[in-house]
């Protein structure tokens, strides 16, 4: 076989089906006229095409009409259309599902409780879980908090007055009766004012100003600390200077009381 024969032989079927350009077709014809093996190749292709083009359609064994009910794809029809392997696999899966379903149904438990029905598969039920914690009673908590704060305030007040009285007792030698009486009256008055102040503060807190309450009490606490410090300083000075005159003492005490009252406001 010549080297060019391979190219021409590839062109033979295209030439027979009129798929070659005119120049290539002519070149092929020239080659086939000279090359006997390639001409034989074309004869074989011609014979093949002749046999393929032999008419003879078979008659249909039946008509293939379509009916509306046939067009509905039922699960069974879809299953039948699957290959044998898929049908086997699906059957195995279906059997497994059925077995699991049967096992689950064998352990089915339906229990009616107060206000509810419980359906359970599998093991017998455990005791019912504890009920959820009750919701927080905000009003009650607020009330309790107020009581605690009020109690703390009262204790602080008592403590402060006790401290003042102790300081007065220490400086008893330097004060006259008149001065002590005036001081006691002033302290009682201050106590009364503190009570009314606490009650008023509690009222404010009850009105819903919890934040303000905390600030107010903190401020009150600071104020009291500062007042006590000031009183202590003054009393210390009084004790150190026993020769202070009574009118000076009155003035000092009056000033202290004024300061305390002013701060409380």
């Amino acid at each position: 076989m010549k080297s060019e024969c391979s190219t021409y032989r590839n062109q033979i079927p295209q030439g027979l089906m009129a798929e070659l350009p005119e120049d290539q077709q002519k070149a092929l014809e020239r080659h086939l006229a000279e090359c006997l093996p390639c001409a034989e190749e074309r004869r074989l292709y011609r014979e093949t095409l002749r046999q393929l083009q032999l008419p003879g359609d078979a008659d249909v064994p039946r008509h293939f009409f379509v009916y509306p009910e046939e067009s509905r794809a039922t699960p069974w029809r879809l299953f039948r259309n699957l290959s044998l392997a898929w049908r086997g696999a699906l059957s195995a899966v279906a059997l497994a599902v059925l077995a699991l379903g049967g096992f689950a149904l064998a352990n089915l438990e339906i229990r009616a409780e107060a206000g509810s029905v419980t359906i359970r598969l599998g093991e017998h039920s455990q005791p019912a879980p504890p009920p959820p914690p009750p919701t927080i009673d905000l009003a009650g908590l607020k009330s309790d908090l107020l009581l605690v704060l009020e109690e703390k305030s009262r204790n602080d007040k008592i403590e402060m007055i006790r401290t003042v009285r102790a300081e007065l007792a220490q400086s008893e030698t330097t004060l006259t009766k008149k001065q002590r009486l005036a001081l006691n009256i002033a302290l009682a008055d201050m106590e009364s004012r503190l009570d009314s102040r606490i009650v008023a503060s509690a009222g404010n807190v009850e009105a819903g100003m919890q934040g303000s309450l905390a600030i107010m009490y903190r401020e009150l606490d600071n104020q009291r600390t500062r007042d006590l410090t000031a009183i202590n300083d003054r009393l210390n000075r009084i004790a150190a200077n026993g020769e202070i005159k009574s009118n000076q003492t009155d003035a000092i005490l009056e000033t202290l009381l004024q300061v305390a009252e002013f701060r409380l406001k």
């Binding site: 249909v60 008509h63 293939f64």
Partner: protein, 209 residues
């Protein structure tokens, strides 16, 4: 060469018949798309022979070919509303049929051999063919068909589909490309490769005869 009056009249009447046929088919398609089953079954009546024979040559099994043909028409009936007339109805039907056949061939176990000749006489194609005036000539033609069927069995499904559409359904390369939704060059390549195989088998047996 000038054509005779009879030839011209014959061609004219053929063209007119084709036009009428296409108009009628178009009306049936439109009616079927609106759910008219009777109109669809008229289309079945028109195309069942071509589709059945395509399936028969592709599958080489009378019963499976009949089953596949029924599936093809059912599938077409279900999806005819989606037929947009972008191609001919025949192209659309061939596409469904070829896909059905290729799908069935791929599902077959490797190495399985199906032969019409192996089936019983009741299902043999020989018994379904039209009677010929010459018994001897008919026997020779049937022998050739048998050899063609045997040779086709050696082609892969995709090549077999191209050969079937080209030589038995007489489609152009462009129409085949549209049916099997493959590039034109691939269609030609598959056809020539298939012909190469068929030449070896059919050409050799022709020499032996």
């Amino acid at each position: 060469m000038q054509e005779s009056i009879e030839t011209v009249l014959s061609k004219t009447s053929t063209v007119a018949a084709d036009s009428k046929d296409k108009t009628q088919e178009s009306a049936w398609i439109a009616a079927a798309q609106k759910g008219d089953t009777l109109a669809f079954n008229r289309l079945v009546l028109k195309w069942e022979k071509a589709i059945y024979n395509l399936n028969l040559r592709m599958l080489h099994d009378c019963e499976e070919a009949a089953e596949a043909t029924q599936e093809v028409f059912l599938s077409a009936y279900k999806s005819i509303r989606r037929f947009r007339r972008e191609s001919r109805f025949s192209t659309w039907m061939y596409r469904i049929a070829v896909n059905q056949c290729i799908s069935r061939l791929r599902r077959r176990p490797q190495g399985a051999h199906y032969s019409l000749d192996a089936t019983g006489p009741s299902s043999s194609v020989v018994h379904q063919l039209p009677r010929s005036e010459s018994h001897e000539g008919e026997i020779l033609r049937e022998e050739t068909r048998r050899r063609v069927r045997l040779a086709l069995e050696h082609l892969p499904p995709e090549q077999r589909a191209v050969v079937e559409l080209k030589f038995f359904q007489d489609l152009t390369f462009e129409e085949i490309a549209s049916v099997i939704q493959t590039p034109l060059s691939t269609v030609k390549s598959r056809l020539y490769s298939g012909l190469e195989i068929l030449k070896v088998r059919l050409g050799r047996t022709a020499l032996e005869m």
